[in-house]
Symmetry: C2
Subunit: 441 residues, 2 copies
Amino acid sequence: MSAPQINIKRLNSQDAGFKETLLSSLSLPMGDDEAIDLAVARILAQVQSQGDEALVALTKQFDRLDVANVSDLVLTRAELEQAYLDLSPEQKNALDIAAVRVRAYHEVQKVEAGCHSWEYVEADGTRLGQKVTALDRVGIYVPGGKAAYPSSVLMNAIPAKVAGVKEVIMVVPTPDGARNPLVLAAAWLAGVDQVFTIGGAQAVGALAYGTNTVPSVDKIVGPGNAYVAAAKRKVFGTVGIDMIAGPSEILILCDGTTNPDWIAMDLFSQAEHDELAQSILLCPDAQFIERVQESINRLLPEMPRKKVIETSLTNRALLIQVQDMSEACEIANAIAAEHLEICTLEPRKWAEQIRHAGAIFMGNYTSESLGDYCAGPNHVLPTARTARFSSPLGVYDFIKRSSMIEVSEAGAQTLGAVASTLAHGEGLQAHARAAEMRLKK
Amino acid sequence: MSAPQINIKRLNSQDAGFKETLLSSLSLPMGDDEAIDLAVARILAQVQSQGDEALVALTKQFDRLDVANVSDLVLTRAELEQAYLDLSPEQKNALDIAAVRVRAYHEVQKVEAGCHSWEYVEADGTRLGQKVTALDRVGIYVPGGKAAYPSSVLMNAIPAKVAGVKEVIMVVPTPDGARNPLVLAAAWLAGVDQVFTIGGAQAVGALAYGTNTVPSVDKIVGPGNAYVAAAKRKVFGTVGIDMIAGPSEILILCDGTTNPDWIAMDLFSQAEHDELAQSILLCPDAQFIERVQESINRLLPEMPRKKVIETSLTNRALLIQVQDMSEACEIANAIAAEHLEICTLEPRKWAEQIRHAGAIFMGNYTSESLGDYCAGPNHVLPTARTARFSSPLGVYDFIKRSSMIEVSEAGAQTLGAVASTLAHGEGLQAHARAAEMRLKK
């Protein structure tokens, strides 16, 4: 009995118009968000004007939770700890190891990625530098329901805590009162300070503006549905936000020396996220691409999420034959994928040619799923080609810098003359006078 | 003849409702931007669909420049150099010194603020780290007309070049063909690679989408009017953007030991930017506040921009009497000002208590205007209390990071078991299988 053929789009880098076809295959039609924007604007206004009262009403409306006060929507640290203690030994152990490894990686990142204050002194005594401070209070949005990921709790909360954020406030909807014990356990393990069982645009509004019960935060991070994303865009400026994530993507560069079943499963592991996720293979070996297609056909029927995988692969996946690995790297830079696997001999050689990718997984043993859960690096990564200009979530997203300037009396003489000339050139005479007043007569 | 009394709002931290009054004095009513948003959406759509042709038409419409091709809107490097060579020796010297100092500061920042790749190796051979890459191509928006600031060209272009950005593309409108020689000279000095004399939302669209003549960039930085700001918000996601700046602000903490004329002029130098700029003084000494008011009354009539200054001070300035310097620091943290001057004995002692500010100017000789032009640190700073979560423009804004993960065969055994458990817990079986396939039987 032959396995059903899954129809995946094939491209060859030598095809006429290849570059255009590729780029148009990457982009998604923009949804018409006007209705969502309007609904979100109303919810935010309601939360801003009515505070706790609005949270109770909206949580009853959207999550079917009928409570008298927002205080009934608070989870205590004791409840989080109990969720952790109730896990199976295997789950507890896995979550422990993941948390330890994510923390260790971000501790190194804090040092290496320059999250420290610095200063230097010039010959005339003028001192210049920057002071680094952690954010005071951060909010983490955690989706409830079907996409409730404990790993995301670790990935968002741990870098904040490593950065030195004093208060991490988590919001997570619990529709019909259904709580996810793994999510609560992860919150306990990551050191989340307070949890509210609220969600949607109303939770984003509560974190941005504050209510009597929910404290206002300085930045909101974490994934959510279209309403949550629209709300985050809307409150940006009042608070900081992380990126607005698009559907997940994997790009695999393979020279044909990998077990094709591994490649097929790595493509699946992206496709199973949702129907809009995108899985792409670049390979110079036509026969190997054929073998991957066979693996896909054979393995797909076994997968519990086969429907989602099949839709995603049929609509969005690409199997692309390239001339050689150098060309594969060039194409990878144009794609700027969220996840890039380099499944080749000498993967580091090719990694050197990569300029744009959220995370680079090198070698056949580095399946993307290891990075998703427990390798240590963050799994919150730039999607939709934004790796051209943005970075994985990190400790650096939970600190900010203040420039430090202390000009000596001698420094004010030389700098004052320069500032005066330039300020007059810009027609800003008070700027000039402020500098001139510090000059000795 | 007594000088006219400028009416500036006085507060005392002991007033009932002080905190609320202060916070409401900081915020500006949100403008109704619907008309601007709609106009900008149309312009962006026109540029995206018609490219160069749209740029020619819109530049004719808005800047009254009638050219046949976009190539007539290109300034050559030779023209930039000529603008520099034509400056007076004094201006040339001032611009040279400013450029050298801004470059020197950002060179140190590149090292200290962690703009380098790093990696560590675990006991089982697994390697984890991050790769730092400069952005490929950056666009700088420079306003034309009344707010054309050569210093802004230096502050935006130099950090990009220090970061290693290969191509810096500048756009600057030249209404009626009027070019600002200082702006062009600054572009030459900062190493800008290409200049187009286009502006407004159409310039932002050209940089974001690219046309036949204007190359698409990865990030757009630089200040602009409401149309430019709206266009930047709109193209965010397609390209990166810097922050959307609000009106400029200065907060001065003074213990009463400074020449009150200096304080008055520093308040002016913010107020002269525009009517919405905000200048605030915090001081524990009521008599000194009185002396500053006298200096303001006496000095204002001399200022060429006295009308702007008077409107700004009358509508938005605050003179606040505090209990002591510790309380001043607390209030400063609540305000989170763009520019914070600490004009006191022992300014560093108070700076230690400051958590939120864009730039901190310490000591009586450090007028904010020195920082605006030539001290070295960037003058693009977070406004409107966003210093709670964001930073001065810096080298770090022109690089991005890719996580690097290379799991050894041994590492895949321990991590694979953990990932498998967690993936099953999240109902993502393909993730689990991808990890399990790498386990030795």
